[in-house]
């Protein structure tokens, strides 16, 4: 879809041009269709690092394809919130090798980093993409690598390059070369078609994994990224399914009476936390995936649900309304007493735990406004900060490196997904489908 790509890139440029005007204003500017991805800058980005990604030179046989790897890298770095990328139109010189870079030019443009690259033919019709990252003031090469990929997977190559650049500069592994799962709903009641989808982290390359005439929700990734557990109502009531992404083969994990919900794989992939209500009301259980035996973890007359594992696999964080309204609690994965985790906000639910176990994202409600909030417990008792504008925001899901989150929001009657930097400063709407989009779940790192 070349025309589409051009529009997308153009809209990004427009949007970045309009940055000053858009500060504090989440709505896309006039003339921008709501169907193009826009990056919204919420606050000044004083701490964002200036970086130029020069369009990669095409030195292979034949015509360049639809994918400009440099664009993929630039978009990834921009939406991370850690970088301020130079607009493509402001790129005045086009070096493709380190030796061709005229550093005074980029110093003049106040750039701290520059990325140059080139694409050439590799064996078997593949493409070899070489790139170099330089520190502009020091005129020092920080990275110089080549990645070979199929022509059909140049976006994947771009994401891997963005990951390497991110890791070199920020010191944290990049999470652009990852996948996301989400649910779409299209049609008008009672003829709604639901689909469980898997796509690249930026929303490209969407694939249908499951189609259903009944609601689907709560997709959860296995730690190896090969399977998804999810809830489907196709049997009339909720049931939890386990499905292999590559083959599509699936099995029912739980279809007890009442609610079968909120699946979450343990960090080692051997267990599944889930919510079951067959004993009278929703409680947290843990299923051993080898034996399929379940063990009850919470036992309370309140609604206990939405368990997530702490990274050490020893503790669960979950939602409970045992104090009246929903709040987050934690409990040992062996059971026992739960302790309350959140005290700020009337309503806190649907936790997502960062990879280091120090940050907890949640849907936070105050009155009729529901926003995504992050509780940072890296220092003492913790600091709560909201990172989305509301008013019907839900289902936060951390990227595997904790740098960004996905969440679900609404645009009129329609559900949409946003990617937001963990500090809330940079937000991008993902364009994934014409229908209703919800229930995002960010997958694990992929194996290179």
């Amino acid at each position: 879809m070349p025309a589409n790509s051009v529009i997308r890139i153009a809209s990004l440029l427009l949007c970045l041009l309009g940055t000053a005007a858009q500060a504090q204003n989440p709505a896309p500017g006039p003339g921008l269709s709501s169907d193009v991805p826009t990056i919204v800058i919420n606050e000044g980005r004083a701490s964002a690092l200036p970086i130029t990604v020069v369009p990669f030179a095409f030195e292979a046989a034949g015509a360049p394809g639809d994918t400009d790897v440099g664009d993929v890298v630039r978009m990834d770095l921009a939406r991370s919130g850690k970088f301020r990328t130079l607009d493509k139109k402001d790129v005045v010189e086009f070096p493709s090798r380190g030796g061709d870079i005229k550093f005074p030019t980029w110093n003049l443009l106040k750039q701290t980093y520059i990325v140059v690259g080139r694409m050439s033919d590799a064996e078997g019709g593949a493409m070899r993409v070489e790139f170099e990252l330089f520190d502009v003031p020091k005129q020092e090469r920080l990275l110089g690598l080549a990645i070979t990929g199929q022509r059909s997977d140049l976006r994947g190559v771009g994401h891997q390059i963005a990951d390497l650049i991110y890791e070199k500069i920020i010191g944290v592994r990049g999470a652009f070369w990852t996948r996301i799962a989400y649910v779409t709903a299209s049609g008008v009641s009672p003829n709604i078609n639901y689909a469980l989808m898997v796509a690249d982290s930026d929303g490209y390359n969407p694939q249908v994994l499951v189609r259903s005439r009944e609601p689907l929700l709560s997709p959860a990734w296995s730690p190896d990224g090969k399977k998804l557990a999810y809830v489907s109502f196709e049997r009339g009531d909720s049931a939890i399914y386990l499905q292999e992404i590559a083959t599509g083969s699936r099995q029912v994990l739980s279809n007890k009476k009442g609610i079968n919900g909120a699946p979450a794989f343990s960090p080692d992939g051997s267990k599944l936390a889930l919510t079951l209500s067959y004993l009278g009301n929703p409680d947290i259980f843990i299923m051993d995936l080898a034996s399929r035996e379940t063990q009850r973890i919470t036992n309370h007359f309140s609604i206990d649900t939405e368990a997530q594992w702490m990274p050490d696999g020893q503790t669960l964080v979950f939602t409970s309304d045992r104090s009246g309204k929903p709040q987050l609690y934690q409990v040992s994965a062996a059971g026992g007493d739960a302790t309350r985790l959140t005290f700020q906000g009337e309503y806190n639910a649907r936790p997502s735990v960062s990879y280091d176990g120090k940050s907890f994202a949640m849907a936070q409600g105050t009155g009729n406004v529901y926003r995504i909030a992050v509780l940072d417990r890296s220092t003492g008792s913790g600091v709560m900060r909201s990172i989305s504008p509301g008013s019907v925001d839900e289902s936060p899901s951390f990227a595997p490196n904790g740098s960004m989150l996905l969440y679900a929001a609404t645009d009129g009657p329609r559900g949409v997904l946003y990617a937001v930097s963990a500090d809330g400063r940079v937000r991008q709407r993902l364009v994934l489908a014409d229908g209703d989009v919800r229930e995002p779940s960010w997958g694990p790192f992929r194996q290179r």
Binding site: S189, P215, L217, S218, F233, G236, D237, S238, G258, I259, G261, A262, T275, S277, N281, P282, I303, T305, E306, T319, D321, K325, P326, Y347, A349, R350, A363, G365, N368, Y370, S391, V392, E394, S395, T410, P413, R438, E439
Partner: protein
């Protein structure tokens, strides 16, 4: 009532039961008469007994949605009459199963709202039971916020979605 009409009703019931084993009987076959004596066994002899067709004709039984206040599961007094008439009908016709579909508004998380919908379904179930409906005819399914009747972000719409729907299924 003539025999051919009875046969037609029986055929319709069979089609319903076979063709869609667990589908709701939203529109039970209407019969012209109100004197179907075969269905009055088992509790139907008390005064003011219903016929099967009362589901379509009785103004109380035609009300099959119970609405709830925000975050609440109590059944408001305005719905007590509805609870009473449905309990009576369910007790009178043991061959009807009733699914209580619990729903929540869109606010907050989907899984928590599944719990909230179930809690509302359970509240209606226990109210029906207290009023005399046999528990083995009642089943609760929660759809959480997955089946809204409207999709505006307003209290007017939310109040329509916080509901339990009483759905009759013919066994």
């Amino acid at each position: 009532m003539n025999t051919s009409l009875r046969l037609a009703i029986a055929a319709l019931l069979c089609v319903t039961a076979v063709g869609c084993a667990k589908k709701a009987v939203k529109q039970p076959p209407s019969s012209g008469g109100g004197t179907d004596s075969s269905s009055t066994a088992g509790g139907g002899t008390e005064s003011g007994g219903y016929t099967r067709d009362s589901l379509n004709t009785d103004s109380c039984l035609r009300q099959r949605v119970i609405y709830f206040d925000l975050d609440r599961t109590e059944i408001k007094s305005e719905f007590q009459a509805q609870i009473a008439c449905h309990s009576k009908f369910i007790r009178q016709f043991p061959d009807f199963a009733v699914t209580l579909e619990g729903n929540a508004d869109e606010r907050g998380s989907r899984e928590y709202n599944l719990g909230l919908g179930e809690r509302r379904g359970n509240a209606v179930q226990s109210a029906l039971s207290s009023a005399g409906a046999p528990g083995n005819q009642l089943n609760v399914v929660s759809y959480g916020e997955e089946r809204p009747t409207c999709k505006d972000h307003s209290e007017d719409c939310w109040s329509k979605n916080r509901r339990v729907e009483i759905v009759y299924t013919k066994n």
